[in-house]
Symmetry: C2
Subunit: 687 residues, 2 copies
Amino acid sequence: MKKLIVVAFVLLATAAVADEGMWLFNRPPRAIFKQRYNFDPSQAWLDHLQKSSIRFNNGGSGSFVSADGLILTNHHVGLDCLQKLSTATHDYVATGFHAKTHAEEVKCVDLELNVLMNIEDVTQRVNAAVTPGMSTDDATRARRAVMNTIEKESLDKTGLRSDVVTLFRGGEYHLYRSKKYTDVRLVFAPEVAIAFYGGDPDNFEYPRYDLDICLFRAYENDKPVHVENYLRFNPDGPQDGDLIFVSGHPGNTDRLNTVEHLEFFRDYTYPFTLNSLRRREVLLNTYSERSAENERRAHDQLFGIKNSRKAYIGLLAGLQDPVILKKKADSEAALRQRVSTDPQLTSAYGDAWQTVHNAFEAYKPFAIEYRFLEGGTAFNTRLFGIARTIVRLADESQKPNADRLREYRESNLESLKQQLYSTAPVYEDLEMIRFADSLSHWLEALGPNDPTVKQLLSDKSPNDLASELIRGTKLKDVAERKRLAEGGKAVVDASNDPMIRIARIVDPRARELRKKYENSIDEPLTQAYSKIANATFKTMGGETYPDATFTLRLSYGTVKGYVENGKQIPWTTTMAGTFERAAEHKNQEPFELPQSWMTKKSAIKGDTPFNFVSTADIIGGNSGSPVVNRAGEFVGIIFDGNLQSLPWDYQFDDRVGRAVAVDSAAILEALRHIYAADNVVAELSRK
Amino acid sequence: MKKLIVVAFVLLATAAVADEGMWLFNRPPRAIFKQRYNFDPSQAWLDHLQKSSIRFNNGGSGSFVSADGLILTNHHVGLDCLQKLSTATHDYVATGFHAKTHAEEVKCVDLELNVLMNIEDVTQRVNAAVTPGMSTDDATRARRAVMNTIEKESLDKTGLRSDVVTLFRGGEYHLYRSKKYTDVRLVFAPEVAIAFYGGDPDNFEYPRYDLDICLFRAYENDKPVHVENYLRFNPDGPQDGDLIFVSGHPGNTDRLNTVEHLEFFRDYTYPFTLNSLRRREVLLNTYSERSAENERRAHDQLFGIKNSRKAYIGLLAGLQDPVILKKKADSEAALRQRVSTDPQLTSAYGDAWQTVHNAFEAYKPFAIEYRFLEGGTAFNTRLFGIARTIVRLADESQKPNADRLREYRESNLESLKQQLYSTAPVYEDLEMIRFADSLSHWLEALGPNDPTVKQLLSDKSPNDLASELIRGTKLKDVAERKRLAEGGKAVVDASNDPMIRIARIVDPRARELRKKYENSIDEPLTQAYSKIANATFKTMGGETYPDATFTLRLSYGTVKGYVENGKQIPWTTTMAGTFERAAEHKNQEPFELPQSWMTKKSAIKGDTPFNFVSTADIIGGNSGSPVVNRAGEFVGIIFDGNLQSLPWDYQFDDRVGRAVAVDSAAILEALRHIYAADNVVAELSRK
C-alpha cells in the first residue's frame, strides 16, 4: 500500500543519511541501496536470504548454515533449550555441548522454528470487515474474526503455519506463511562463561568479547532436513567500512508512537515493568546464592530478567531525557500543524491524536489491574500459565474459530500445545518463591480490598497460598495436562486441581479486563495510528518500513567504530583482547574464562577479529540474526546492541548507536582450535 | 509512671509465659525475674551492666570488656568504620585487621559511642508545656522547645550528652545522660568472609556459623580510657537452658500500633521502602559486578541494603498473613469494647483510634512526596545530605535553641559536626549512579509535572543533573564544608556550589512537608498513643516496657533450641560445623572460608560452641549487644534474629522466634588458635 510508504520519514528527517530501517522483504529499500551503496540485489538474492533466515518462536533469530539443516543462532537464544535439557548432573549451560555425530545430537523439548516462505497482502480483506460506524466492540470482534478465518483457510490450503501480521499499527495486514520445524536438536554450545563473557556488566556494552553462538539442526521424520536455502559461511568475516545486511526478527519498536504514548511508557509502563523486573531479580539472586544447584535452576530466568532490566533502564533513561523527547515533540508538532492547516487532512486524520489521548485516559484507571490479572504479573509461575491455558482452551474450543481469542484460533493450536505439553522440568521450590512473591506484589499494589485479591488472599498469606497450590497441583505432570486439555470442557470443569480452580476464579475478571483493553485501547489505537501513518505519508512522501513486529525484516548498515567521550572505539575486538580483559579482572566472574580457553590460548591466532559493530538497525528479537555481505555470505551473527542503541526503540540514531556481532572468523577459529569441533567446521566449510 | 505500666499486657496475654520485653534499666521486671527465674539482681548488678553497655551512634550496640577500654561489638556494626578506613590498597573488610600493640590501633574517622550514665524522668515538665486546647501546631512547637531546652540545660550543667527520650510514644519523657567517646580505634576484625559467613542466604537464619565480632578501644587524650565498668569475659559460654540477659539498644518496634497503623505499613510504608531497597540493591549489585574495586567501594552500603531488604520482606510477609493481623485485631477490639462500655474511659480515651485514623488519612496524600523530599529518597548521595545540613544549619543557627529543628538543637551540634566533617572517602562514580537513580525514581513516582521535579529536571535528565552536581560540588572537600558551616548564613548564602544550590531549591518544600507531617501526623499520633497506652493500663494492669527507641534496654531469656517443620533445631552450632557447611557448598562464595580458617582447621577444638540461640527479645539495633549470665559475665554477643523473629517488630512470640549470638567460647578459640591474637586474649582473660 503505497500511501503508507513513508511513515518513518519524520524519523529519517532527523538522521537523514542514517542506515535506518527494519524493512519488509516484500518491500526492500531498493532506491536507498542503489543510491547510497550502488547495490542492486536480485530477487533471488532476497529470496535466498529470506528462506535461509529462521525465527525462533521463543524469541530470537537464526539461519541455516548448511544444506543438512545446520542452524546457527546465539547462545542466549539457545539458552532456553539448553536450560530445559540440563539437570543437576549434566549442566549444558555451564559446560557447553558438542555432538560429534548426528546420533549424539539432543532433541530440544519444546522448540519451534519458523521459516518464512511467502507473504500475501490481505489488507483489503481485513479492512473490509471493519465498516465505518461500527462500535469499537464490533470492530474488535470483526477484525479478530476475519484474521482467525484467513489464517485457518491458509493453513488448511497450504499446511504452512499462517499468521496475519498487523503492520503500520493497522495500516496494513500481511499473511505470513512459514514452514515450521518442531524437531530441533542441539549440535554445539560453548560454555556460558564465554558465550556471555562479561555478564551483566558487559551486556549492552562495547567493546565486547563474546562467543555468543549455539548450533542446532532441524530434523524431519527423524532425519536431518535437506534445505535448499542456507548461507555460505565466509571464513574471514567483514572488513571495516563494509556494507552488511541483517536478516532477522526485531521484536518490537515504538517509532510511530505519539509523544503522549511515549510519556505513558515513561510514567506508567516502564516504571511498572522495571519494578517487577527488579523484584524478580532480587528474588532470583537470593535464591541462586543459596546453592550451585539453585543457581543452575534459575540461570535462564535470571539472565532474561537482568537482560530486560538493563534494556528497560536504557529505554526509560532515554524518555527521561527532555532533549530526546523534545525532538519527538517537535516533529509531531510539525505534522499536526500541517494536518490542521489543510481542511481535507483535518477531516480525515485530525482526530487521531485526541483518540490516542482518550485511549490512555481510559487505560490509566485499570492499567495496573490489567497487567496483574490478564498480563499475569500476579501469578508468576509456569503452572498458573498452564492452568489458565487449559481453562481457556476448554472455553474457547466451544466457540466458532472466528470468535476465539487470538491465541486459541485453530491455526495456532499446534504451536500452543507444543508449549503446553513441554516436558521442560518444573522445580517446585523455584515456582513456589516466584508465585508467592508475585502474589505479594499484587496484594501490595491492588490492596486487600480489591475483589479478586480478596477472593484469593482474605484468609491466607501469599506464602501459604503459593505453597498450597504449587504442592497440590497435578499440572507438573504432562499426562495430566493432556488429559485435561484433550478432555474438553466437561473434563476441565470436573477437575478439582487447586491451580485450575484458581485460574477459574480469576478468569471472569481477567477476560473482562482484556475485553475492556481491546475495545477501549487496542482498537482505538489501531484506528488512530492508521490515520497518523497516512497523514505522515500525505505530507511527507518517500519509502518506509513499519514498526517491528517479531516478523522477518531486512536491515543494512556499515561496519564501523564510533567516538565515545572523545575516545575512538574500534570497529572490532580481537580474541587476544579477551585474555587481556580476563587478566585485568584477575579472571574473576563474570570475567573468568573457561578452562578450554585458558588451555588453548596459544593455539589461536590472537589477532582474529572477535566481535564487531555496525550501523544496522536492530532491536531485541534480532539476537541470532545472520550478518551477510554483498555476496549474501554469512560474515557474523548479531548478539547485542550497545547502550546507545537502546533508544532505537523510539528513535534511530547511528552517530554512536551500534549493533554488535560475533565475527565469522572468530567462530571458525574457536570451533577449530579451542573446541576441536572438526565435524562442525567441515560442515560449515562445505560449499 | 505507674499508669502506663502494662501497655504490653495485651501482647503478653497472647504468649503468657514468653520471655518478652525490652525493659527500661530504671524499671526492670523484678517480679518476673523473681517469679519465673528466682533471680533478684542487685542495683549494683544492674548499674554495672548499664555502664558496661555501649551505644554505637551509627546504629548498633557493644560493651566494654576490659578495664583499658576494650570494646566488643559485631563486625557488621564495626563495618562502617572498617569501610571508611579502607582503600583500594588495604581493604580491612576483606582481609581483617589485628593491632598487636596500642600503637598499631587505627582511629575511626567519625565514630561516636555513648555510655548511659543516668536517667531522669522529665515527663511532667514536658507535658506541662503542652496545655489542653493548644493547636497541634502550637503543641508541636511547645514540645520541641521544652525538649531542646532541657537538653541544653543538662549539657551545660553536666557536660554529658543529653537526650530527652520519648517513651510509650509520648506517655513518658526521660532525660538520658551519656558519656560520649569520639576517639575510637580499631583493634581487631576477622575477615568479612567469616564475620558474615553464609552471606545474604544465611542472614536472619539459623543454624549459623558467623564470627560476627569486631574489637575497638576507646581513647581520651590520646590514651586508652580506664573504665570501672566492664564485663568479665566468661571463656566457656552458656549452657542449654541457661537464663541470660541482653543489654543493648533495640532500634524500633511497633507493638503499640493500632491495626490500622500496621495496615498503613503493609499497604504504603513497607512496599515503598522495599521498592527503594530493591532498586538500590540492583543498582549496587550491577556496580559491584563491574570490578573488585567497585565491590569494595560499595560493600558496606550493599550489605546494609540487603540486610534491610531481607528484614522488611519478613515484616511485610507477617503483615500480609491474615492470621497474624487477626490476632492484633482481636485484642484491639477487646480493648475498644472495654473503653466504649465505660463512660469515663470513653470520654478520656475513646477518640484515640479515630485520631490515628485521621492522621493516616491526612498522611496518605503526601506520604510519597514527604519520603522523597524530606526523607531524602530523591537525593541518594551523601553529598546532598551534607549540602542540606549546611543550608539548614545556617538557617537554624539564627533561631533561638528552643525553636530549632530537633537535629540542630545546641546539645546535638557536636555530634552533628562529627558526621559533617567526617573524612570518610567519597567515590564520585558511586555517588553519581546512586544520585542519578534516586532522581530517576523521584521523577517516575511524582511525575514530570510535580513543581519541585520540574524545577530540577525540566531541562536535564537525571543522569545529566547527577553528573553535573557530583562533579561540580566542592563539598567532597572537608575544609570547604567547614568553611561554609562555620561561616554562618552569609557565607552559605554566598556559595555558588551546585549541590548547595539544589539543597536550597528543595528546602522550602521539604520544610513545608516536614511541618505538615509533624502537625498532622506526629503530634496527633503522640497524643492518641498516649491515650491508648493509658486505656490499656486502666483496663489490664501489670508491668510493662515501652516500644524500642534506640535507647538502652534490658532483655532476658533462655538459651534453647526450637522445632521447625517437625525438625529439632539445636541450641548451638559448633566450629566444626562451619567446615562441613563450607564443604557442602564446595567452599564457594558466600560459603567460602577464609584462608586463615582453612589452614588452622586442625588447631581448633571442633566441638567448641560457635553460635547459639535464646528467647531474648531483640530487634535491629541490638546487634553487638552483650549476652550475660546471672553473674553478669559476658557469655556471647547478639548478632542476628532468625526469620521467625522478624515479626517481633509488632508482636513477640518465642515459640520459634530466636535471637542468635556468637558464643564467647568460640570468640576465644578463634582469637587464640586462628588469629594468634595473644594480646587480645590476654586482655580478655585479665580479671
